[in-house]
Symmetry: C2
Subunit: 453 residues, 2 copies
């Protein structure tokens, strides 16, 4: 871990502070701050640090400035379109944008323009958000990384597949960025980069116009604060809903967890727990201690057996589901698909529809099992990752603690609550299907106990 310190600038934490937006509403209203000035500060941070971090594939600064000016005028007139009117956001480069190419992290899509906004991007624009650029993704949001580096230590991975989104938010380039997760692609990079990460209930945010078609795939948000994260998700849900047929994000906390009453958390032991850095486990224990002292009940729950299939089963399900389009891509230009993708395709070609049915049935059984926990806990708490971001950018780290919520289809939040040697480590909350609002209420209480602004 010590090697990391040498490449990290001494003032990293000071210059790379997260840049929350929603809390400045009063300043935007009064005119003491404006979205245009806010954007300028983001662009200055990008100018200074993006050369090393490389969070973006493409930017559209002119359009961003224009959008920020329009937002500034609306706040001045007392008529913001939404709480995120003027918020600088980034878009993972598997999600289509009308004004920028969508490269999918693959030479197959180099410079490709869909000439439309995805459902999420369109909703963000309707809400007034300022789309600054496209953020680096691994190849087709899977394994092979792009050039992005961890803002807290340039010698380390930012995590993947939402690498650029997490790095940009962790570096204070943006207040929020869209990500996608089918294994651990939001929670892990959020943990590594010191950002909030939100993987919603499966189907809760409309995936239309995103290269993100698997049955566990989710559009989600990486953001500078819990409020920014939730505001972005709500702005999308209200305007674009969820996936067709799904009920979409429920924005009200029916359980009333925000009311400050009794709260029980299940402290989860996950499969692969022996991989956890002892310092990470002790950081989690420190958080749990403070929560207990604040009056929140915490009980230990060992799901390492129930969730043991989470990663292998996810990989099998994703395998069958990526048979197409990998097969048509391989036919078109085999040399432009990575070896990892060719391996995945080969495995997929050996699978059968009846095998897939058995796999999804097993997933369904695990989901039913997990759902029973809701009778005794408002949410679960655990680590987002086994430790801080590993050295090197050739791999994006281990998704082992992030994959359970993907398999379960339930909401999860990575909270930037801990550090090891100054490097961020996420503490994860895992919730229950369609109870995303409750999970955010719990996250706010936990953050308050931990004095996280």
């Amino acid at each position: 871990m010590s090697a990391g310190k040498t490449t990290r600038p001494p003032d990293a934490n000071a210059t790379l502070a997260r840049r929350p937006f929603v809390r400045h509403a009063d300043a935007f209203k009064s005119g003491s701050d404006t979205p245009s000035a806010f954007l300028d500060r983001c662009l200055a941070a990008i100018d200074t640090h993006n050369g090393g971090i490389r969070a973006f594939v493409t930017m559209n600064v002119d359009a961003a400035r224009k959008a920020a000016d329009a937002a500034s005028a609306r706040w001045r007139a007392g008529k913001p379109l939404s709480p995120i009117d003027g918020m600088p956001v980034g878009i993972k480069d598997v999600i289509e944008t009308v004004d920028m190419p969508t490269g999918m992290g693959s030479p197959l899509y180099d410079g490709w323009r869909s000439q439309r906004d995805s459902a999420t991007v369109y909703a963000l624009r309707e809400a007034g958000a300022v789309v600054v650029g496209k953020t680096v993704t691994t190849e087709f949001a899977a394994t092979v990384p792009g050039p992005t580096r961890n803002p807290h230590d340039l010698s380390r991975t930012p995590g993947g597949s939402s690498s650029g989104s997490a790095a940009a938010v962790g570096a204070g380039f943006l207040s929020a960025a869209l990500g996608t997760q089918v294994v651990g692609s939001i929670l892990r990079p959020a943990s590594y980069c010191g950002a909030w990460g939100f993987k919603p209930t499966v189907g809760a945010l409309n995936r239309g116009g995103s290269h993100d078609y698997m049955s566990q795939s989710c559009a989600g948000v990486i953001a500078a604060s819990a409020d920014d994260c939730w505001a972005v998700a709500c702005a999308i849900a209200e305007r674009a809903g969820g996936d067709p047929g799904a009920p979409g994000l429920y924005v009200e906390d029916e359980a009333g967890a925000s009311a400050g009453g009794p709260l029980t958390l299940a402290s989860l032991r996950l499969p692969g727990w022996d991989k956890a850095d002892p310092r990470a486990v002790s950081a989690l224990d420190g958080v749990l201690d403070r929560l207990r002292k604040s009056g929140i009940a915490v009980r230990d729950v060992d799901l390492s057996e129930t969730l043991a299939p989470a990663l292998p089963l996810t990989r099998k399900i994703n395998g069958w589901e990526s048979r197409w389009p990998l097969n048509t891509y391989a036919d078109r230009a085999a040399g432009k698909l990575s070896a990892a993708m060719h391996d995945r395709l080969r495995e997929a070609e050996a699978m059968t529809l009846s095998g897939y049915r058995a796999d999804t049935a097993q997933r369904e059984a695990i989901r039913r099992d997990y759902a029973k926990l809701a009778e005794t806990a408002s949410a679960c708490i655990t680590l987002s990752a086994p430790g801080v971001a590993p050295q090197g950018i050739a791999a994006t780290g281990d998704p082992i603690f992030a994959v359970p919520s993907s398999l379960l289809g339930v909401p999860a939040i990575s909270m930037p609550l801990a550090t090891i040697d100054g490097l961020p480590l996420g503490i994860q909350l895992v919730g229950f299907r369609d109870k995303d609002a409750t999970l955010f209420a719990v996250a706010r209480r936990v953050a308050a106990v931990m004095d996280l602004a």
Copy 2:
């Protein structure tokens, strides 16, 4: 109706015979016929008749000949890839193809190339099918028609939105063609054009790479015979499965309806029954009489009340679900969207997520109600459309009898069993969720009773 006769060539039925493929397997094996020769006969029919019918947007004859030659060699070697190896097929032009543009029936997508095959098209090619061309669709598979005319009477609509697919199969240009249905876009044109039409259980065939994203949307098949229809569907399901998360098409008839034992059909009275042409009702009665005489039990079931919301509820659900991408298209080039699409978008913009949730909950309740029918009937039988194809090509006809299976998410088949004044009229079978194979078994029994080859 009589006006139609004047533009219909006197030998229409002779020259425009459907062109079934699967039944020629023995001839392909023995070499007395070949897929290449079969394709030549299709191309000759296209040469002669497509000028008037205009079923295609694009064709790739060179690639088709090459694929047919390869299939011919495989049959000769006794190693066909599947029962549809060498079958000439067409692809509705909302479904992506690597070798041809995908125009969506919209000037917004004129000449657009996705550079990949859809999941269905890739599966068809893997099974050896010969992709001849892209078939005309209405604008974004919705309302505004293309130039296609009914092969049985050029002054009449072929129906929509799978206009070109149905016309091409009805004209004997192809043995099968892919369609999509969210209201009545497979069953209605199949009925009007004298083809078999199959709208599977929702999610049964993978929609990846198709502009066909609504929650009731289905990829389906229009074909020259029941066997061709089913063989194409099975070939896709085995290779591409269903939509991600869905179990995919079940290819086995668990109910054993194919065994020839006792069979009960529910004769359905649908909402809008008063719109039915009395000659259509009497054609249906004629079919029911023959079925009863053959020993099949038929009992009357009136679902006109249960299914009364089918069309208005479908339109509301589709409305919210097409908010995106219509909003981003309208922003990009408002003048390239039809007035009908602008109307739909305006309605959609007035909708809310909570209204949508109520609509899908109502749909779910209707589905549960309908499912009870399975206790007393193997399938339902009714009309595919209120009558034959109406005059004119400015509108594509009334989807009122085709929409119930869309709302219900259940399989339906339009069988070319009847005619009125020489114009085709489909008799519809409606089945139960995931019981697509049973429905085909019933269809084959019905066709046999009716002496339909």
